[in-house]
Symmetry: C2
Subunit: 578 residues, 2 copies
């Protein structure tokens, strides 16, 4: 761990991370944030039924959300991965409920994580960009946006039911001070605000920091080494220990807990600790999966050991589809589905998903409910005896009736890129209103979101509009989106008749949030090639915007310093990997 | 069922099926065939260890081989099919051993079935054509070839250990009299010699016959209706009853049995009985799979009910990969693998495979042994306490050490099309010496073996030779064969160093059998378009060859009559579906 003076000194040179707050200052901020959240929530509670955890009834179940990074639908044995190297996750499925039709809310990391914690589509929470049409955006080191204070995050709401919340791993909802997870309801954090790209030039562009709560405790590639050559890193073991320690502490204190285990070993550059390196049939990516599988096994084992398994709801899923641009050595598998991360084909947004709650969810169940990562928000509130906020649109569904009684609820799945509604699924039918993989320019440079796949008129490299005559697929017969229905068929007309009113209703009611990921074009995937060029138009655009700001707050000062540096950055990071 | 006089009368008009032999004549032939086989086998037994079933030791286990038709690796829930509609097969896997790396011996039906029953590559048994390079061939109605008498088939050998054998369903090893399954060791047959294509013109080209033992009991689309419009057919239920009845009779007689359940509902035109029609999320193909799954459940249930489960070895697999040319309505899924039936990519030859033998094979096992459909021959002999013939090359491996003790044996997988060795896998490495999907001409007409898939330089439409510099894939990291190893890499050289000696050894020792599928070019897939034209060159070639034969045997006479008719055929069958 870095000595305090070193950390403090380095933060001043760093564009956008949280300043290291300590001791009473930090506590004061925590307390204030908690009061603000409680006040907001109390108002809502007046309107809602009193929750289980609020009324002194038996302690509500613990909630453990295991969120993977860039892991694909096809990466687990139970989902058909041929090497079948995930015995613990397969067992988790055998003891719980498997969701083959579970979706993220966006094919990219930051927006999908925002969706999980807010229960809302990124278009509502502002986790998108309007810089370009159908552009994906996230929060790389350079961006100054993040989760707005106006959003109510799951841990913030769970406080009302007495939960203690911790996030382990990747936050990705903004790295400037106002976005710190402990300002948004988490009580503890061990992890980093950004991806573990690097290593970066120490002076011009520092490595990504790692935090314990308010305190920066080191940086990737420094205090937390990642060996890009061998793939060795001890991070999953550290994240595992953080999870186990937190669970033990909460159990000892008899406090209900929410643990958000958002680890990143399967995101390029993929890594594993020494005992797992070289053990997979699938190469380094498989080593990372094996270590994660082993860790999940240890976590579930601890829950049983502590006799709290029957009082702990566990859900496993991933933030977006496998990053096929990193395949085969650093990317996973989307099974039989089309394309991967960054696309709104099934490979980009359908996720592995397993619910586990012994004694409550019957074993060996498969539910064909169309599920969403946003449902984890609403379901968690329901577990805590709380109702979702009523002052805003919530897209998440309470999955408890599905998991406990096998109920199926008709609901659509919306597939967005940026602020563009690309596709909608209802029942077995999926209608594409826009098709796009990536630009010809990127594709010609070797960036391929769909390697080995080519569906004529579907996996397009120009943005093709189909709003007048959508491309429709039957996902039961054709999960790989290879055979569009004939527009002359009765089935096509019937499918559209089901989907059209849902889309109209959605679009009429939609109030997009203020776009948070617009500030700096560096966040825009399609421009990722520009990141390699110092002084690019996008970097200059970003700096102009920041420099034009008149505010004299500490945050703005940090942003100005960051921007002043941006003009001199030596950008060595791999812009393709988000 | 058709009255006898009608059957007898119609056979004379039919090109190539077995004549209906009855009563003592039939019995005489059976007896003679059995004696001949026994004599051959007794000689071999002198050289081999005395088998379990031969020596009066406890009754050897029953053997039940469930062989699917065109079912793909990705069609079962346990292999990741998203609709997960195979609870019985998934349970069978949970109670037994799953093989994710199991292969057929040829990407087409007849040769793969010959390989199962002989334990030998089709290139050895003669189940190939030399009419063209890398051409697939099978036994459509017009062909006069079939399984040579010189081949020793599994049921023929199992007789030595006291087994009674039955084949239910599709034979496909030749339909002329000398190829009848009861002449090759089976004691009973219910099914047909060919595919259930049709309906055909009753006069010029009759529908495919259905046999009970020596007797023709009707024809597809007539006594055994298949409704192409609704997809309704009762055949799987009939095949199920045949299996259940046979098992009950053998159990009552305390006879060890071999049941080869070779059903064809998943081969286009796919069908299901009324209770299953419209029940699948996957459409008609899924209905067929659901009925098969239900039937397998009933068969395993009967074994348990009769208390013979622990004395019955059951193996489930398929003859070749899913026929993607029939997808999505009439074809299945090859999961994450490349292309399908007729190709030597993984989608064409990797098969679902489950071994089940309660009390012997431990439950919930996965074996990464490279397995082959030919292993079922050797393994079955081993179960019966017999050794494979020593006077010929046998390609099948005894999988009992794998299934009972978890042993892994290093062995290559050879991928042939016709007499061309297209590819070889050893360990995780697969080297392609030739790549080809189908011809440009076919492809331009809409025949696509790899819909939605396109790996540049790999899924080629011209036959590309790579014998000097093979394309090499690591199947663990890249099961979809999308990323060939760099020929400049050490890994590439190491992989070739492992594969090259195996190929050399194989080719040096190889003695190809007399090609059986040459007689009539109609058997050649790449010429399938010609089948629609009466008097095509291939039909004329076939007839010239037959007419030039001087023999006056009854067989030749039948062939001459068939050929005389061939010139006047009105060919209505769908040449694309084999």
């Amino acid at each position: 761990m870095a000595p305090p003076h070193r950390q403090a000194g380095r933060v001043a040179r760093f564009a956008g991370p949280f300043p290291p707050l300590r001791g009473s200052v930090a506590l004061g901020v925590v307390a204030m944030a908690a009061v603000a959240a409680a006040t907001r929530w109390r108002l809502l509670l007046v309107l809602s039924a009193a929750g289980l955890g609020v009324t002194g009834a038996p302690q509500p179940p613990n909630i453990l959300l295991l969120l993977m990074d860039d892991m694909g639908w096809g990466d687990l044995g139970v989902y058909g991965e041929p090497s079948r190297e995930t015995p613990n996750l397969d067992r988790m499925a055998a003891e719980g409920m498997l969701f083959p039709n579970f979706y993220t809310a966006n094919p990219l990391c930051s927006p999908s994580r925002a969706a999980l914690l807010t229960g809302r589509l990124p278009i509502r929470s502002g986790f998108y960009t309007t810089n370009g049409h159908a552009r994906n955006a996230y929060t790389p080191q350079e961006i100054v946006g993040g989760i707005p204070d106006s959003e109510l995050l799951l841990p913030e709401l769970l406080k009302e039911a007495g939960y203690t919340s911790k996030i382990v791993g990747k936050w990705h909802l903004g790295h400037r001070p106002q976005f710190h997870p402990l300002k948004h309801g988490f009580d503890e954090w061990f992890g980093s605000p950004n991806c573990h790209f690097g290593p970066y030039d120490n002076k011009a562009r520092p490595n990504i920091p790692v935090y314990r709560d308010w305190e920066m405790v080191g940086r990737f590639y420094e205090e937390f080494p990642i060996n890009l050559k061998t793939g060795e890193a001890n991070l999953t073991q550290i994240y595992l220990q953080e999870a186990l320690d937190f669970i033990k502490r909460q159990q000892a204190a008899h406090r209900p807990f929410f643990l958000h285990w958002a680890i990143d070993a399967t995101h390029a550059p993929v890594y594993a600790s020494r005992p797992f390196l070289g053990t997979s049939q699938r190469g380094r990516y498989g080593d990372a999966v094996r270590e994660i599988d082993d860790s999940v096994g240890k976590i579930l084992h601890l829950l049983r050991d502590l006799s709290i398994a029957e009082n702990t709801f566990v859900f496993f899923t991933s933030d977006n589809g496998a990053a096929l641009i990193s395949a085969p050595r650093q990317g996973g598998s989307n099974g039989p589905f089309l394309c991967g991360k960054q696309t709104t084909f099934e490979g980009g947004m359908r996720e592995p998903a397993i619910a586990w709650w012994p004694g409550h969810i019957p074993a060996s169940q498969v539910s064909h409910q169309l599920g969403s990562i946003m449902d984890l928000f609403t379901t968690s509130l329901s577990l805590a005896g709380l109702e979702p906020p009523r002052d805003r649109a919530i897209d998440g569904l309470d999955l408890l009736p599905t998991m406990l009684q096998g109920r199926l609820t008709d609901r659509p799945v919306f597939y967005y890129r940026g602020n563009t509604l690309m596709a909608v699924t209802r029942g077995q039918y999926k209608a594409h209103f826009w098709t796009w993989t990536n630009s010809w320019e990127e594709f010609r440079q070797g960036v391929d979101f769909c390697p080995g796949q080519n569906v004529s008129g579907v996996t397009t490299h120009s943005q093709e509009e189909h709003t007048k005559l959508p491309l429709v697929f039957h996902l039961g017969r054709d999960p790989g989106e290879r055979f569009p229905l004939s527009i002359a068929s009765t089935e096509y007309l019937d499918a559209l008749r089901q989907i059209t009113p849902v889309v109209r209703q959605h679009q009429e009611a939609l109030v997009p949030g203020q776009p948070q990921l617009n500030v700096c074009n560096r966040a825009v995937m399609a421009d990722s090639q520009q990141l390699h060029h110092r002084g690019s138009p996008s970097v200059l655009f970003c700096c102009r915007e920041i420099m034009a700001t008149q505010s004299k707050s500490a945050h703005e000062g940090a942003a100005r310093r960051a921007c002043a540096e941006a003009g001199q950055l030596s950008l060595g990071h791999r812009g393709r990997h988000l």
